[in-house]
């Protein structure tokens, strides 16, 4: 683990360096954004993209860009940010390098809630979009509570490994319930749900952006404002209590924020796993483990990751699309395995 920023004597230089890194990540998102704009069945040159963005494009270009590609790209970035920050918080509060809303089963809980809704009210056009994140949040919240209480042991508290194992098992249980539900669906609904579950950015529509945006805009700054608390958590529960942090209360509040971020993201994107794992780890490699830098860096790398995955998914097997969730899992699972092999118990 390179915790250069943490131990560096020259705080100021580390600060500048980290800000530069975060700036570069932002720049990369802009570049990926431009590339993603160009990727798809109908190609547009970068110049055309810029022209259209400023309102000088043809009507067709406007339609493609504003109605199809742009919302999708925005959603990819937002979802990536939400999941990565959620993972970052979960890793922070549990001091568990392998924590991720997908692996812990929180995404599965959110997915189940959405799916229950869709299978009982099958006409997806009438689903009030703003309701979806709320629904997903409650599903994710219930699951999180179940997992937390099952993994809790009175004398030992929560051990990281047991937490993850419990999450894996709960996720397995939930997915079996989901399988039961999918078989009841008509083929059209099934195809839709299967694509959604595989983590495709399906709501390529401004309405979904609006549904997701408030959650991201409120919760990420909130988590950011708690960066100091998260830093204290890193030192261990005893030290944190010694420093005057009211551990359990802060932990619950942060956990709720993480669940909210994951739930809202999943309700729009479907099952994208591993972003919450890779984003923070990547960020930690780049800017060290202080949450003031870690959270923005994680958010940006998460956004970048999902954006790239979605773009690649559109590009690899043209003209058909691979859901972003599958692309992320193919990158993420090996990374998880790598982390697992380095982790000591």
């Amino acid at each position: 683990m390179k915790e250069t920023a943490f131990v560096s004597k020259d705080q100021n230089r580390a600060k500048t360096r980290n800000l530069v890194v975060i700036g570069i990540l932002g720049l990369l998102i802009v570049i990926a954004f431009m590339i993603s704009m160009n990727t798809g069945f109908i190609r547009l040159t970068p110049l055309e993209v810029i022209r259209t963005l400023f309102g000088y494009g043809t009507e067709k270009q406007q339609l493609i860009l504003f109605e199809f590609r742009l919302p999708r790209i925005v959603i990819s970035v937002l979802v990536g940010m939400g999941l990565a920050v959620s993972g970052c918080v979960l890793q922070g509060i549990s001091r568990n390098a392998l924590a991720d809303p997908g692996i812990l089963g929180i995404n599965a809980g959110a997915g189940l809630a959405v799916m229950l809704y869709i299978s009982f009210f099958p006409t997806t056009t009438t689903v009030p979009v703003f309701f979806l994140p709320v629904l997903a949040f409650s599903g994710a919240g219930i699951t999180a509570i179940i997992i937390y209480s099952l993994a809790y042991k009175r004398n030992e508290g929560i051990s990281p490994m047991r937490l993850i194992l419990t999450g894996v098992a709960i996720a397995a249980g939930i997915s079996s319930v989901m399988i039961v539900l999918t078989l009841r669906l008509s083929p059209e609904n099934y195809q839709f749900l299967a694509t959604w579950l595989a983590g495709s950015i399906w709501g390529s529509n401004w309405k979904f952006v609006l549904a997701l945006l408030p959650w991201i805009l409120v919760l990420i700054p909130f988590v950011f404002s708690k960066a100091r608390v998260l830093n204290v958590f890193n030192l261990g529960d005893l030290t944190a209590t010694g420093l005057g942090a009211s551990i359990e209360k802060e932990r619950r509040v942060l956990l709720a924020a993480a669940v909210g971020l994951a739930g809202a993201s999943v309700s729009i994107s479907g099952g994208i796993g591993f972003v919450g794992l890779i984003g923070p780890h990547l960020a930690r490699q780049l800017v060290g483990s202080r949450h003031q830098y870690l959270i923005p860096a994680a958010a940006l790398s998460g956004g970048l990751l999902v954006l790239i995955a979605d773009t690649m998914g559109r590009w690899i097997l043209q003209p058909s699309e691979i859901p972003a969730g599958i692309v992320v899992a193919v990158i993420g699972a090996p990374y998880f395995l790598y982390l697992l092999s380095r982790l000591k118990d």
Partner: protein
């Protein structure tokens, strides 16, 4: 395994001392279990959309008359299905028992350790690229796939710093399953074979045909006989590698042989019903609780109880919400998940 008589007696004593074994209970379970299995097979055959009473089942099996429709239904649809369920249950259970014994890992199960996902991935590939492949070849690919999954999981597990702990293996298994699952899902979406695959992933014995059983049974029977032959060595391995080596066991050979058996069993079961998990986890634990730690009893009893569990699960799956069938994989997971949580809560201590 030509140990002198004196050492052999010593081994017996050691087993007796360390791991209590209850042969009488085991014999009762074997006979009672076989009886229960036969009864539930008969019940399962008689239950279905077309109502058929037990008498008809009897005559259809022993005095088959091709002119009668019920007899046709029994012979062509229900019998292969139920026998398939029994066979698959036994396969998963024995595979789980072997893995638990060899690795001393209480959380070992072919589903949890990535074998099922590997086999399923291979089958998805086959469905996509060679749609008409005969079952005889499918099952071979399934073995290969199981080997692939196991290879990755154990490879990662043994590369890691802390060694092969049970929890680490399960986590590696979960990640490998996620990876292979994502890949199969991508294939399914791309080739539009999704819903076929979904049913089959969830564990459908409904499509079982005589040809599947014909192809599968020689492999399965051979593997089970193999498992019973090495069961004594498995017991010794379950006491720890040092003990087993000290008692003159060729641990490497046995482990390789055992692993091949596991691959064959899990692979052939997956090729028929898809990735049903948790059978290999639940059954051996239950059996161990009942008959003690001697694998010479655990393995035969697992064959019976595993078959019984899946036949009953299949029966329940058809009874819950007729005429729809609930996938048995999902049903078994509903029992398996709490059980797994219980084991994980105990801390995944070594057997």
């Amino acid at each position: 395994m030509s140990t002198p008589a004196g050492v052999s007696a010593e081994i017996e004593e050691l087993i007796e001392k360390n791991k209590k074994s209850r042969p009488i209970v085991a014999i009762i379970i074997l006979f009672g279990g076989i009886f229960a299995l036969l009864v539930s097979i008969a019940l399962s055959i008689s239950f279905g959309a077309a109502d058929i009473n037990l008498e008809t089942v009897w005559t259809a099996v022993f005095h088959f008359n091709p002119d009668l429709t019920p007899h046709q239904i029994i012979r062509e649809i229900r019998m292969p299905r139920v026998l398939g369920a029994a066979m698959v249950g036994s396969c998963f259970a024995v595979a789980g028992a072997l893995m638990q014994g060899m690795t001393r890992n209480p959380l070992a199960d072919s589903g949890l350790l990535g074998l099922n996902a590997g086999a399923a991935f291979m089958l998805a590939l086959c469905f996509a690229f060679f749609p008409g492949l005969p079952f005889m070849y499918l099952i071979m690919y399934s073995f290969l796939g199981a080997g692939l999954g196991a290879g990755i999981v154990y490879g990662i597990g043994s590369m890691s710093r802390g060694g092969l702990t049970p929890m680490r293996l399960v986590l590696a298994g979960a990640a490998v399953s996620a990876l292979l699952g994502a890949l199969s899902e991508g294939i399914a979406l791309y080739f539009r074979i999704g819903q076929d695959l979904a049913f089959w992933y969830a564990g459908g014995v409904s499509g079982t045909k005589w040809i599947n059983l014909q192809v599968m049974s020689p492999w399965v029977i051979a593997a089970m006989i193999g498992a019973i032959i090495i069961s004594r060595s498995i017991t010794l391995l379950s006491l720890g590698d040092e003990v087993a080596i000290g008692l003159g066991q060729k641990t490497k050979t046995i482990k390789v042989f055992g692993m091949i058996l596991v691959l064959v069993l899990a692979g052939s079961a997956v090729s028929v019903v898809g990735a049903v998990g948790f059978v290999g986890l639940i059954v051996p634990h239950l059996t161990r609780l009942l008959v003690g730690h001697d694998y010479r009893w655990i393995i035969p009893c697992s064959i019976v109880i595993g078959g019984l569990l899946v036949v009953l699960a299949d029966l329940a799956a058809r009874m819950i919400n007729p005429p729809y069938e609930t996938p048995i994989g999902a049903l078994i997971a509903l029992i398996g998940v709490p059980f797994f949580l219980y084991l994980a809560r105990k801390g995944g201590r070594e057997l």
